[in-house]
């Protein structure tokens, strides 16, 4: 029951930026001059892959796996996405969500804190990460709580 509530709450937060194409939150803003912004500035001579398209594709797959209850597969795909985009708090959060569902509370909390740290503490992802930390705290009877 708690899991369902959790899932609902997080789902709502997560879908804030996304409706339509699965549930992909907006890509994080990166430094100027990096892959992301460069790609955007250049006039596309032919319809190029959008920057971050690789990560988006992986996240869509991970979300599908998660929806279908294949948490193991979802985690594998999310780790692959992290290798491509290690500073993206949304990916860390998703991985936290998967680990929480698997009952790995301590790991879920660490991942959520990593997400929170990268997000700078603001925005929808940070909000969702905080909620997840609270959920871990109550699920573990206060054993794993954020400082």
């Amino acid at each position: 029951m708690r899991r369902m509530v959790m899932r609902l709450a997080l789902g709502l937060v997560m879908s804030g930026g996304v409706a339509g194409c699965g549930s992909v939150p907006p890509a994080p803003v990166e430094e100027p001059g990096d892959a992301l912004s460069r790609g955007r500035q250049e006039p596309p001579r032919e319809p190029a892959s959008a920057p971050g398209a690789a990560v988006d594709a992986l996240l869509a797959r991970a979300d599908r796996a998660w929806e279908e209850g294949q948490t193991g597969q979802a985690a594998v795909i999310l780790e692959r996405a992290l290798r491509l985009s290690p500073d993206d708090p949304a990916i860390w959060f998703r991985l936290a969500r998967v680990r929480l569902e698997q009952g790995r509370h301590a790991l879920a909390a660490s991942l959520a804190r990593r997400s929170l740290s990268l997000s700078g503490g603001d925005g929808g992802v940070a909000e969702a990460a905080r909620e997840l930390l609270e959920a871990v705290c109550s699920a573990t009877g206060g054993a794993i709580c954020s400082p």
Partner: protein, 785 residues
């Protein structure tokens, strides 16, 4: 005689006893006893024979029904993933393709082929089974623009967001007998190859029951005439039996055994099973100690292609090699091989497998073998050694060598080769430039990914290609000043007590060490520097200030921090620890710095992503497991101080080696009498640790800045890596500080530096410049970031 009787009696049983009661008379008796003995002997023979056949039968069935072969484990590098935005140079791309055994051709239509032009890579990838599923083979065009992938499109026009290539095979763990093979199923073998094999080796295979007596007789006569073996006369089944059970001895007893076993094999197993076993067993090549078995591996060994893609002339060559792969070795004896191949083609035409024209056309073609066999040895033995150790707890050595495991590692071949190359180059330059004995310097490099703890490269010495003493894993050396960032980190964990601006005391100090002796730490430059702000004491690696700070914080706190950051080794909390009197391997140092590089989150360094069984089913995965070891704000402050090491401290020398935009953090380490030269540091993406020294632990005359730093800078400079994140975590604010007083000052004031602080830990304003009302107001509200 008596003895024999007794044997007969005991073994002969009822038949013998019956005979004894019927006959009488001495002559008769003697005659009778002879017959009895004979009968008994015959019976004995039949029984022994039956037992023997029974045993052979057991042997045959056991071999066929179990897993027939020991299969070596395959060790793969990480797969190359291409996507829009990826930074990858042409040199790297070309090398990655080469390592994954892609061939440069004009029209890359076949899987495993590519064409690299200035702004595009056209490639046909091979399908591959990964731990998370099958990656299909694709024919795509990758657009390249100024060192980056601009986009990927299938030849059909579809956009492909992410392309994963099949990984490079970097090593195999062979069974003790060094047999190597790649299993194929009968349906994967080209039918013409099977027909060719049968027509040359055993054209009555489908009819006989394991033996062809006529052929054996003919061979016997031919061999007797010639005085030595000229003809085999063995069926495929006999050849298989010989390979499986008997080896190369040619005694009559062995021949008999072979014949019986061949019959047994045929009795129990279908022609398909026997043929498939033969195709996988037969010996078809040799590379050093490694023997190449089966057509599956032979196709790759000789032509670097999968079996199903071989053309007729190549199939015929493999069939020809069955007779003697070293005698007909197409690389060493191309003429013999060509002759043999064309004979095979001729026989195939004679037997009606192919028509004459096809045969002649194929015979007109060159051998088409690759000039060099694909390497079967380990390319990166130092890295593979780490893999082996990480597997050790989970898999038995026997299992590693025989169960056909597919081991997917985190090895990044480009990073690995950069590390090996730069280390070797720099050591040679250092020796030459400083008059150090040639070949006396050694070194080690470990590179890992900051965010995931994946080990990307391990160089265990200057000779990267040879396995030997693995200094990255096994050389435990005092770490010297590499420990200092952790002493400072332990202090910064108390933001109310210590900030980057806190003034430390670098004046003479004497304390009593663990042996009860008085100890007075000294600075590298032999001087004392009075009161210095904390960040500067770290930047200049002042020993005395560090010891004093560490004693205030408590050596136990530093030890506890080391363990929190993943150090498993026991460390005694002696004061000398504060100056690095603890011996660690480069890998252990990398583990400590990884936590710092990843904003306080630590994860065990991993060299393996997944292990699959021989059927590509996942056996174990090595998922990302992180723990927050240190508050992210504290980690950020420490990193900021380590940036000052590079900007103005002992690692200033890095500036010329790295692009200006590449902000990195790091620390030099030097031990007594210049025995060990260390550098450990990180960018946003990579953590790297370098050690330089001598194996005999004698002084070599190089400090951290003079030795290891140069290697580190050149390794890091050769990687596609990003500068440190400029944006701090929540809860950090910046202020301008006067390094002389450690107090706040104005932006324009002399010597002012801008430092980050944990919110609420800002020092107060000093007097003089910048202490005006504006700053006072700013101080009141803070200058948040």
């Amino acid at each position: 005689m008596k003895g024999r009787k007794r044997v007969a009696k005991s073994a002969g049983g009822k038949a013998a006893r019956k005979g004894r009661t019927k006959r009488s008379g001495t002559g008769h008796r003697r005659h009778r006893s002879w017959r009895r003995v004979l009968a008994a002997l015959l019976l004995l023979l039949v029984m022994v024979g039956a037992v023997w056949v029974g045993l052979l039968d057991l042997k045959v069935r056991h071999r066929f029904e179990g897993s027939m072969w020991s299969l070596p484990a395959r060790v793969y590098a990480r797969p190359l993933e291409l996507y829009a935005g990826l930074e990858i140079g042409r040199a790297q791309l070309r090398r990655e393709l080469e390592l994954a055994r892609y061939r440069a051709v004009r029209r890359p239509d076949e899987p495993g082929e590519y064409r690299l032009l200035r702004e595009r890579l056209e490639i046909s990838t091979r399908p591959f089974r990964f731990w998370d599923g099958e990656e299909p083979g694709r024919h795509v065009v990758v657009r390249l623009e100024s060192g980056r992938v601009a986009g990927i499109r299938g030849v059909g026009g579809d956009e492909i967001p992410l392309l994963r290539l099949d990984p490079a095979l970097v090593a195999s763990f062979y069974p003790a007998h060094r047999e190597d093979r790649l299993l194929v199923r009968l349906e994967e073998v080209p039918p013409l190859l099977v027909d060719g094999l049968l027509s040359v080796e055993d054209h009555r295979f489908l009819e006989h029951h394991g033996l062809v007596p006529g052929a054996i007789l003919r061979a016997l006569i031919a061999n007797l005439r010639a005085g030595h073996t000229v003809q085999g006369g063995s069926t495929l089944t006999q050849q298989l039996v010989k390979n499986f059970f008997l080896g190369n001895q040619r005694t009559l007893a062995r021949k008999l055994e072979e014949a019986v076993m061949a019959l047994l094999v045929e009795l129990h197993f279908s022609k398909r099973q026997i043929l498939e076993a033969y195709l996988n067993e037969v010996y078809l090549g040799q590379e050093g100690e490694r023997s190449i078995h089966g057509f599956g591996l032979a196709a790759r060994f000789w032509f670097d292609k999968p079996l199903e893609r071989l053309a007729l002339h190549q199939q015929a060559l493999l069939v020809g090699l069955v007779k003697g792969p070293s005698w007909y070795d197409p690389r060493r004896h191309p003429e013999r091989a060509l002759e043999r191949r064309n004979l095979v083609l001729k026989i195939m035409a004679e037997r009606g497998v192919i028509d004459r024209r096809t045969s002649e056309e194929a015979a007109a073609r060159p051998l088409d073998v690759t000039p060099q066999a694909p390497a079967g040895h380990s390319r990166y033995p130092a890295f593979v050694e780490l893999v082996r150790r990480q597997l050790r707890g989970q898999y038995r050595e026997e299992e590693l060598r025989s169960a056909g495991l597919q081991i997917h590692t985190t090895l990044d071949p480009w990073v690995q080769e950069q590390a090996q190359k730069r280390l070797a180059e720099r050591l040679a330059v250092l020796e030459k430039g400083r008059g150090i004995e040639r070949g006396s310097l050694q070194g080690a490099v470990v590179v890992s990914r900051a965010a995931t703890g994946e080990v990307l490269a391990v160089a265990g010495g200057r000779e990267g290609r040879y396995a030997g003493f693995n200094r990255a894993l096994d050389a435990r050396r005092p770490v010297g000043s590499l420990i200092k960032p952790l002493v400072y980190l332990a202090a910064l964990e108390q933001p109310r007590r210590y900030t980057l601006a806190t003034l430390l005391d670098d004046s003479p100090l004497t304390l009593v060490d663990e042996r009860g002796e008085r100890w007075s730490p000294r600075n590298y430059d032999g001087r004392f520097h009075g009161r210095v702000p904390l960040y500067l004491a770290l930047a200049h690696s002042y020993n005395v200030a560090t010891v004093r700070l560490g004693m205030e914080v408590g050596v136990e706190s530093v030890v506890e921090l080391l363990h929190r950051l993943g150090l498993e080794r026991e460390v005694t909390p002696w004061p000398s620890l504060l100056l690095g009197a603890v011996s660690l391997s480069p890998l252990e140092v990398a583990q400590l710095y990884q936590g710092l590089a990843d904003g306080g989150f630590t994860t065990p360094l991993r060299a393996i992503r997944a292990v699959l069984d021989a059927q590509h089913r996942p056996l174990s995965r090595y998922p990302l497991d992180i723990v927050q070891a240190v508050d992210d704000r504290t980690a950020f402050l420490t990193t900021a101080a380590l940036e000052r090491v590079v900007a103005e401290g002992t690692a200033r020398g890095l500036k010329g080696m790295l692009p200006d935009s590449l902000r990195v953090a790091g620390k030099t380490g030097t031990t007594d009498d210049l025995r060990d030269s260390w550098f450990a540091g990180f960018s946003r993406d990579h953590v790297a640790v370098v050690w330089v020294g001598r194996d005999d632990n004698r002084p070599m005359g190089l400090s951290g800045a003079a030795g290891a730093l140069g290697v580190w800078g050149r390794v890091m400079g050769g990687l596609p890596t990003r500068p440190l994140r400029p944006d701090p975590p929540a809860g950090i604010e910046y202020a301008w500080i006067d390094p002389v007083t450690g107090l706040r000052t104005g932006e324009g004031c002399e010597g002012a530096v801008r430092l980050p602080f944990v919110v609420g830990s800002l020092p107060s304003f000093g007097e003089g410049c910048g202490s005006g009302i504006v700053e006072w107001l700013k101080g009141l509200f803070g200058e948040r970031e």
